[in-house]
């Protein structure tokens, strides 16, 4: 009796579980094989599948509130399309711009398509469209740092030869600085000023930071803008003094010895006063150097020399005996102190490099 019941249970197990399982697995295997066959017959082009959808305005309104999800999918397709075109021999990127615009029409706040779309388009040389897309993104996401960053890069690289490129790059560097925190904030404020000064646009720098001080809402940003304005004014003073020196030497027919001569000759009213304690001094070539402006250069030199001492100590197990030991041909190629009347000093006992008055 028990044996019969066990056989019956076994049959039930076979009939109700094993057989359906086998049929299911076999079915999946068969349908999978058919799918593989179908794929072989017709090459799939998922990108075009998306492109043939009706225009993105209609799409946006008839997604049942899922326009963001569609934007995510569209962006995924755009990335795939870009990669595919990039790897193809005949890379034309014909649909790229349209795909990026469609993605952002579906989700106007989505930063990545603006950002990477801008990078892709700039990469294929479509700078104007790249800029326009990045600008559109900036209108929708005014607090984003990524978009000014890409615009800044566009003007520093692709469009660097265009007139005023440095000025525009400087403007975007300032925008980046306004939007980020941490160490790089200061670096971008400095960069925005240096880009203007690099092109001798001292007046533009003063004007730009004066406006920035007036318009900054954030106290930290305003303080930074004030600091940059102060440095730009120092640069302007250096420029004015150098012009006065050239005029003075032409007038008196000899080289200037001290800046006070400019005051005596009535070319300037007084040597400008720096509230931060900076001084204006003449270098060997009779060019004016401001000690505050020279400070970052000195800092850089000291850090670099300190690094070299550290490397030497690691390799030799002791401090170098002299400058020449860690900076071969020091006199010829070694760094000079950026401020006239001062020089670099090295202490072999402590291994510290600093500076002193001559």
């Amino acid at each position: 009796m028990a044996e019969r019941s066990s056989i019956s249970n076994g049959r039930m197990l076979l009939g109700k579980i094993l057989v359906p399982m086998i049929i299911l697995v076999a079915g999946i295997f068969v349908t999978g094989s058919v799918q593989r066959h179908v794929d072989g017959l017709h090459e799939k082009n998922t990108v075009n599948g998306v492109l043939y959808l009706p225009n993105d305005k209609l799409l946006k309104y008839f997604t049942g509130g899922l326009s963001n999800i569609l934007a995510d999918l569209m962006w995924y397709q755009t990335v795939q399309y870009t990669a595919k075109e990039f790897n193809s021999e005949d890379a034309r990127f014909s649909w790229l711009e349209q795909m990026i615009r469609a993605t952002n029409r579906l989700d106007p706040y989505y930063v990545d398509p603006y950002r990477y779309g801008g990078i892709f388009l700039a990469g294929i040389g479509d700078d104007e469209v790249a800029e326009e897309i990045l600008q559109t993104g900036l209108r929708h996401q005014p607090n984003s740092w990524e978009l000014p960053y890409e615009l800044h890069s566009l003007y520093l690289m692709n469009r660097r030869h265009e007139p005023g490129a440095q000025k525009i790059a400087s403007h975007y560097a300032y925008m980046i600085a306004e939007r980020i925190d941490g160490e790089m904030k200061q670096a971008y404020f400095d960069l925005s000023r240096n880009l203007l000064l690099k092109e001798n646009m001292v007046d533009e720098a003063v004007e730009f930071f004066t406006r920035a001080v007036k318009t900054a809402d954030d106290p930290l940003v305003r303080a930074q803008a004030e600091a940059q304005l102060h440095l730009a004014l120092l640069e302007k003073n250096v420029l004015v003094l150098n012009k006065a020196i050239a005029g003075y030497e032409q007038k008196v027919g000899r080289e200037i010895v001290s800046l006070e001569e400019l005051v005596t000759a009535g070319l300037i009213n007084a040597i400008p006063n720096d509230p931060d304690g900076g001084e204006y001094v003449l270098d060997a070539n009779r060019k004016v150097v401001n000690t505050v402006l020279a400070q970052p250069i000195l800092d850089y030199i000291l850090v670099e020399l300190g690094r070299r001492v550290h490397v030497y100590r690691k390799e030799h197990g002791r401090n170098p005996e002299s400058f020449e030991a860690f900076w071969p041909n020091f006199d010829e190629e070694g760094p000079k102190h950026p401020v006239p009347g001062r020089r670099l000093r090295y202490d072999p006992v402590t291994g510290i490099v600093d500076d002193e008055a001559i």
């Binding site: 997604t63 963001n68 990335v79 706040y109 950002r115 990477y116």
Partner: protein, 253 residues
């Protein structure tokens, strides 16, 4: 008291519905699998995770509201259980309200479950929530209140299949009413512009409740905006429930 009894009964009945669990499981699977698309794309993975997670709450919540909601009254009439209820000293509006409250309690539970799972998942993936996340989930629920009211209305009027088709179509169109005021330039200034604008203000605008897009993109939304949308949703829902009551009171059962 009578409304509460009907609501409690509706809730108990609906929570036993297998469709509910199926939809809930699909919703949770969507939330958890959202990372796949984020992983395959370039850029902010968290944005895509947040998009899909909150969209899942919205979509699967709406499906529950539609499929359970359109059955609510119809089922009672079809199975003739309605006679045992309306033969008692109970007003018909109490019956409709009780049914509605039972279903929205169920939706509150499902939205809460999906909302918590989604929140945990976003935080686990390194994202942050903020007040706007909870406001986004609250507004999704508020949208579901409106959709449920429409489902209950349709449930008093027609069969569940037809009702579900109508409500789902209204759900899609309700998110796209913006097109009525986003007209081409050559239509501007014509009588058509005024007509479309009038239709726009009459139809429910469900996209009002979708601030999860702003959340996913890190855009700030004022609390006032959220409150006014809740007021809008509450008014529209009340209107639909009133209509449902009217229809049911005049129904020959």
């Amino acid at each position: 008291m009578r409304i509460r009894a009907i609501a409690a009964n509706t809730y108990r009945e609906a929570i036993r519905d297998k469709v509910l669990y199926l939809l809930l499981i699909f919703g949770i699977i969507s939330i958890v699998s959202s990372r796949i698309l984020g992983y395959m794309s370039i850029g902010d993975e968290l944005k895509i995770i947040a998009d899909i997670s909150l969209a899942s709450i919205s979509i699967f919540g709406a499906l529950i509201a539609v499929f359970v909601g359109t059955n609510l009254v119809y089922k009672e009439i079809d199975k003739r259980t309605i006679y045992t209820i309306i033969s008692r000293p109970i007003d018909r509006y109490e019956f409709i309200l009780g049914k509605y409250l039972g279903l929205i309690t169920l939706l509150a539970v499902t939205t809460l479950v999906m909302g918590i799972i989604s929140a945990l998942y976003i935080v686990m993936m390194g994202g942050s929530l903020g007040v706007i996340y909870f406001e986004a989930v609250l507004l999704i629920y508020w949208k579901l209140l409106l959709v449920t009211a429409f489902s209950v209305l349709l449930s008093s009027l027609t069969s569940p299949v037809l009702g579900a088709i109508i409500v789902l179509s209204a759900y899609v169109f309700g998110h796209g009413t913006g097109i009525l005021i986003d007209i081409p330039v050559d239509m501007q200034g014509t009588y058509m512009e005024s007509l479309l604008a009038a239709i726009y203000f009459v139809l429910p605008n469900l996209s009002n409740f979708d601030i999860w897009k702003e959340y996913a993109n890190g855009i700030e939304i004022s609390h006032t905006y959220v409150v006014w949308n809740m007021v809008y949703g509450a008014l529209y829902t009340a209107l639909l429930l009133y209509l449902a009551t009217l229809v049911f009171e005049n129904k020959d059962v």
